[in-house]
């Protein structure tokens, strides 16, 4: 086998600018190239067309390969679409036991980061490029000198068992060495709490699919907490009415800012962080001693919890030992351990330890560290004392960073050993105890990079590629533990094919030892000060993805603001301090100061301000040339400025003062009006448009059609003649399941080559997203209800856009789709005006990628639109055609659910269902006949092909006035 690999490749130095030729070269290269190269050991630099065509690669036909997402530490299972040797789309792996086929917005965006030409081109020696050989020798020599000094390996959570193993082996040679893991947004307290209670420092695996009552204290488990996709799937499985109509979970959220999770809760209570403890204690007291608390709601909640012993779940997102211990006790008493909380096979997704980190920090500060290796993390950016730490690194003889960008930390390191992108190299990970996944590369490393494993190997004089190391490790450590497969090769191939392997583990259930919580911190709240809440946005998260334009442009599902972070303050605060939206505030605590624009946020607790981390990343100034330039255009960022501000210095700050600076800063907010209730200032009381139909679970049980308003069949002005084939494509969206996570938006962007327009254009309401998620606030009896409604082309039967197009650029297909012929469009925008849903998008400018290499991400099945034409959702017609052709070739009918538009595929909660409405047996036609089914604006008689299903929440009653 090795022979014919050699045949295919020659060794020459790399060149990676993408003219047509080298592009074709790459095409020929393909996936086999990647695999073979990584087995071959010898570095394969230049792509030349394959002499022998591998049978699985046909030009123009895309292949799917299982892999693992490295967008965050959740490591969801994905399948990657490779076309002509280019990976062009990431999607969920339906077989995957943990993520169950969902991928979040961040995951979808990883495909763009793959083609980011700003990644390091090769190893750096004090800032300038050098060869790996030189680097290795110098590092090895240095290591010799400082052998017995203290040596640290600082890393973000390491999910990869092989990497961990390699690191340990590497550190073994040094007597005085230590591996320290930490997480920028730490959950260390949870692990510590479990160490106290169960004697094992583990992050439990929360089983939301079993929790009929969920109580969350500031844990944004649907948005950014530990493993959002996994939790979303579990959470929504108990809130899906077509499966089991009489079961519905009850979710209560206590939080200070309006989080994605909170906005999906059945009951959301806005409290200041100081009050969390009281809430937990009173719940605990009640369920322990049945002692009634003064807070009625707490009592009723405690009752519910007691009714659902072993079927409930209390989670706390605050990184505070005391709170976590309380949470544990509650869960223990409720018998949730072993039921909804699994610590026998715990999660490995976050593993950081604040304790170790503190020790490391002190050692670094006290200059008694010989060498430090920094991987999967960016301490100089995300430590509260980042810059200081950076300066201290200067005193350490050997600082090695494995960053793949020349980021904040790389700046302060002597040597940088850039690591390849997740899809460029072999890797493995253990998400939870018992589930191992494989990361399969789909393309040869585009830059001269090396995985951590390879670097460490070469420093321990092991000639082993990461592929070999991984395979060996799996052989010895993992395969040995399983007896499912006869031979290792069989096991290995199956794993690579599926992307994961499940291994039975027989850990015994540990028993609970009550520990007395640490002394209650005296929380002082001098009035005039606000509790500061730092949170992760679903798009930028902890800053790791800040360089990804798709994610920067993705509107926050709650605030609808993109391209910035800001200080969210409550309405009351705004009134008392007379702050307007976009006023720049000075936020300070002692000598810590930062200036951020204010955003007035409904649902924000009045004693708190919330700020998203992950902004102000070095390198975001490259977005200065993103978006169109014209007479009155405003740059997304100035040359010397970053997107947003870095708030990590405030990480350990609890309270801040705020004051107006008199400056203002525009925020790109893409939704001007936030309610379905008509403006009060025009004399409207509670009239509400029946666009978003909702009901409560109780009412739903009584009458399945409750909450939905129908206008009956409208008369037609002409005699309807049945037209079209035996197919009518339709899409249904279950508003009960949709949590607004926005994964569909990025998925659509990747599938349909939707360009990035930049902050100024977003601010001018000219985003090009084909699917958007409308977010409405519905306030009643001082309750806040947040409504998420995905809005895309409704493919109307009587499409108003078609009638008005003068040049027949948009017409109706035989299969009930509303089609747009870009090449015919002359751009009168009449169709866009006449669209009642305002889902048509106009190419106001020529939008170019601000990074040439990023053009490789384009989907060859979808036209790139020219300036001056209208575009819109095509229901992923290219996917429909692909399957139709396939079915035709195989001489069969298209089976139901075989075709999935990008949005439907990516949805972690399976809120979207696509199919043929004319097929009686299809899922879609069943759903569209459900009592909950309705069309948005059906009264205007445009006959949409999209069906929405009334949103149900677990409430006594839903207060709704339809105008």
């Amino acid at each position: 086998m090795k022979q014919n690999e050699e045949k295919n490749f020659t060794n020459e130095t790399p060149r990676m600018h993408f003219d047509r030729r080298s592009f074709l070269k790459l095409s020929g290269f393909g996936l086999t190239g990647a695999i073979l190269s990584s087995c071959s050991g010898g570095k394969v630099d230049k792509a030349i067309p394959l002499l022998i065509k591998p049978e699985e690669i046909t030009p123009g036909v895309s292949n799917w390969y299982a892999s693992t997402c490295h967008g965050c530490t959740a490591n969801c299972g994905v399948t990657v679409k490779s076309r002509d040797g280019r990976p062009i789309k990431i999607e969920g792996n339906k077989l995957h036991p943990v993520s169950k086929g969902g991928v979040c917005a961040v995951g979808h965006a990883q495909i763009l980061s793959l083609y980011d030409s700003h990644r390091l081109k090769g190893a750096l020696n004090n800032g300038d490029l050098t060869s790996w050989e030189n680097l290795d020798t110098t590092i090895k020599n240095k290591l010799e000198d400082i052998k017995d000094k203290k040596i640290y390996f600082l890393s973000g959570t390491i999910a990869s068992p092989t990497t961990r193993n390699t690191i340990n082996n590497f550190l073994k040679q040094f007597p005085n060495s230590k591996l320290v893991e930490y997480d920028a947004m730490s959950v260390s307290a949870i692990l510590d709490a479990h160490k106290e209670n169960f004697g094992a420092r583990v992050l439990p695996r929360y089983k939301f699919e079993k929790a009929e009552v969920v109580v969350s204290i500031d844990a944004d488990f649907l948005g950014s907490w530990i493993s959002p996709i996994e939790f979303t799937a579990g959470y929504t499985s108990l809130r899906s009415l077509e499966n089991n109509p009489n079961q519905f979970s009850y979710h209560v959220q206590f939080e200070s800012r309006l989080s994605l999770t909170g906005s999906n809760a059945d009951k959301r209570i806005s409290v200041a962080p100081q009050e969390y403890e009281e809430i937990l204690t009173s719940i605990l007291e009640n369920i322990q001693t049945n002692k009634k608390q003064k807070n009625k709601f707490i009592n009723s909640l405690a009752e519910k919890l007691k009714e659902h012993k072993g079927k409930s779940l209390v989670v706390c997102g605050v990184n505070d030992l005391r709170l976590q211990l309380l949470t544990n006790s509650i869960n223990y008493i409720l018998g949730n351990y072993g039921a909804t909380i699994d610590i026998a096979s715990p999660s490995k997704q976050l593993n950081g330890s604040d304790e170790d980190l503190e020790i490391l920090k002190n050692d670094v500060a006290n200059k008694n560290v010989g060498a430090i290796f920094i991987a999967n993390s960016n301490p100089v950016y995300d430590f509260e004392n980042g810059n200081e730490f950076g300066k201290q690194l200067k005193n350490i003889p050997l600082v090695v960073s494995f960053a793949s960008y020349n980021d904040e930390t790389a700046e302060f390191s002597n040597y940088v050993c850039p690591t390849p992108h997740g899809l460029e190299s072999w890797n493995d990970s253990q998400i939870v105890d018992g589930v191992f996944t494989i990361t399969q590369p789909l393309i040869n490393p585009q830059d001269d990079t090396r995985t951590i494993i390879e670097s460490l190997n070469s420093w321990t004089n092991k000639k082993e590629t990461s592929y070999d190391s991984i395979k060996n490790y799996w052989k010895s450590e993992i395969y040995s533990k399983t007896s499912t497969a006869p031979t290792f090769e069989k096991f290995w191939n199956k794993t690579v094919h599926d992307g994961f392997a499940e291994i039975k583990n027989n850990n015994s259930v540990r028993n609970f030892t009550n520990s007395n919580p640490p002394q209650k911190k005296s929380i002082k709240n001098i009035n005039g000060e606000f509790a500061l809440v730092l949170y992760e946005k679903i798009s930028i998260r902890n800053g790791q993805n800040a360089l990804n334009p798709w994610l920067q442009e993705l509107q926050d599902p709650i605030t609808k603001i993109s391209w910035d972070n800001y200080a969210s303050i409550s309405r009351k605060t705004a009134e008392t301090l007379d702050i307007n939206e976009e006023d720049v505030l000075l936020i300070e605590n002692g000598n810590l100061q930062i200036e951020l624009p204010a955003h007035i946020q409904i649902g924000q607790n009045e004693n708190t301000i919330a700020i998203a981390v992950g902004y102000g990343r070095k390198g975001t100034n490259r977005f200065t040339d993103i978006g169109p330039e014209w007479f009155q255009s405003v740059k997304t960022v100035e040359k010397n400025e970053f997107v947003g501000k870095n708030i990590f210095p405030f990480l350990k700050t609890e309270f801040v003062k705020i004051s107006k600076t008199g400056k203002t800063r525009t925020l790109a907010n893409s939704q001007e009006y936030n309610s379905l209730q008509l403006p009060k200032e025009l004399g409207y009381k509670k009239e509400e448009r029946a666009i978003f139909q909702k009901t409560s679970f109780d009412e739903y049980k009584k009458d399945q059609s409750s909450g939905s308003i129908h206008h009956g069949e409208l008369l037609s002005l002409w005699t309807e003649t049945p037209r079209g084939s035996d197919i009518h494509w339709g899409l249904s969206i279950d508003l009960t399941k949709c949590i607004g996570c926005s994964a569909c938006i990025v998925s659509c962007q990747a599938e349909n080559n939707i360009p990035v327009v930049g902050k100024d254009e977003m601010h001018r309401d000219r985003d090009l997203h084909w699917i958007r998620i409308d977010r409405y606030y519905n306030e009643y009896e001082n309750e806040l209800d947040v409504l998420f409604q995905p809005m895309l082309c409704q493919h109307c039967g009587n499409a108003p856009c078609e009638t008005v197009c003068p040049v027949l650029a948009t017409v109706h297909s035989e299969e009930g789709l509303n089609q747009q012929a870009y090449n015919r469009c002359v751009g009168t925008r009449y169709c866009a005006n006449n669209c009642p849903y305002k889902v048509r998008r106009f190419n106001w400018f020529e939008y170019e990628h601000n990074d040439d290499r990023e053009k490789l991400v384009l989907n060859p099945d979808v036209t790139v639109r020219e300036r001056g034409v209208i575009e819109k959702c095509s229901m992923c017609i290219q996917r429909i055609q692909e399957i139709k052709i396939l079915a035709k070739k195989e001489g069969r009918k298209i089976s139901d659910g075989e075709i999935e538009p990008a949005c439907a595929q990516s949805c972690p909660s399976q809120a979207f269902v696509f199919g043929n409405l004319k097929d009686e047996k299809s899922k879609i036609s069943k759903l569209s006949k459900e009592k909950r089914a309705y069309h948005v604006l059906e009264e205007i008689g445009v006959k949409p092909s999209l069906t929405y299903l009334t949103r149900v929440k677990n409430r006594e009653k839903e207060t709704t006035q339809h105008g």
Binding site: C805, H812, S813
Partner: protein, 179 residues
């Protein structure tokens, strides 16, 4: 062969009108009358019949209408039937506006062109009395003395009553063409 013409100039429409009808009565062959603006009653005085332009206009209009209506139905229902907004292929009501516009276009332009062409013959005429003044302020009556015994001075006397400005006699070269 040559043709003798007698041109009488007046400075107001009243005299002209009387003179013209007088000439008509006395069987003078009136070749034409030249005026600075359309004088009312002159047509009757000269005994001109109403022109056929009206019919022309009507016919053209109808042609346009039928042609356009057919074209619309053919293009949208026959040649390439496309489902547009679920409307019937032959959405007759929607075709009316364009049909109407084309009717007007045909009728208007057609009639004008017909008018210009049909008249061009007279305009191209080589010899004509120096009528400069008639586009300004004077009115000219042109008669062809047809009776065998013709006397210029006698004609002058007969028209004196209409206090004309002057009367001239001119010889017109006729390259045998009818009027």
């Amino acid at each position: 062969m040559n043709k003798r013409l007698v041109v009488t100039y007046f400075n107001n429409e009243k005299d002209l009108l009387h003179a013209t009808s007088f000439a008509k009565k006395n069987k003078y062959e009136i070749q034409d009358v030249f005026t600075p603006y359309a004088v009312h009653g002159l047509d009757d005085a000269m005994g001109l019949k109403t022109s056929k332009l009206g019919i022309v206009c009507f016919v053209l209009g109808i042609t346009g209408a039928i042609a356009k209506l057919w074209y619309q139905i053919w293009t949208s229902a026959t040649d390439w039937p496309i489902n547009v907004g679920g409307k019937p292929l032959n959405s007759f009501p929607a075709f009316i506006p364009v049909t109407f516009e084309v009717t007007v276009l045909f009728a208007g332009i057609g009639t004008t062109i017909y008018f210009l062409l049909s008249d061009s013959r007279r305009w191209k005429k080589k010899i004509r009395p120096n009528y400069k003044t008639v586009t300004d302020s004077e009115f000219a009556l042109v008669i062809v003395p047809n009776n065998a015994v013709y006397d210029f001075s006698e004609t002058k006397n007969r028209f004196k009553q209409f206090n004309y400005l002057r009367m001239e006699e001119i010889i017109e070269k006729v390259n045998n063409e009818k009027d």
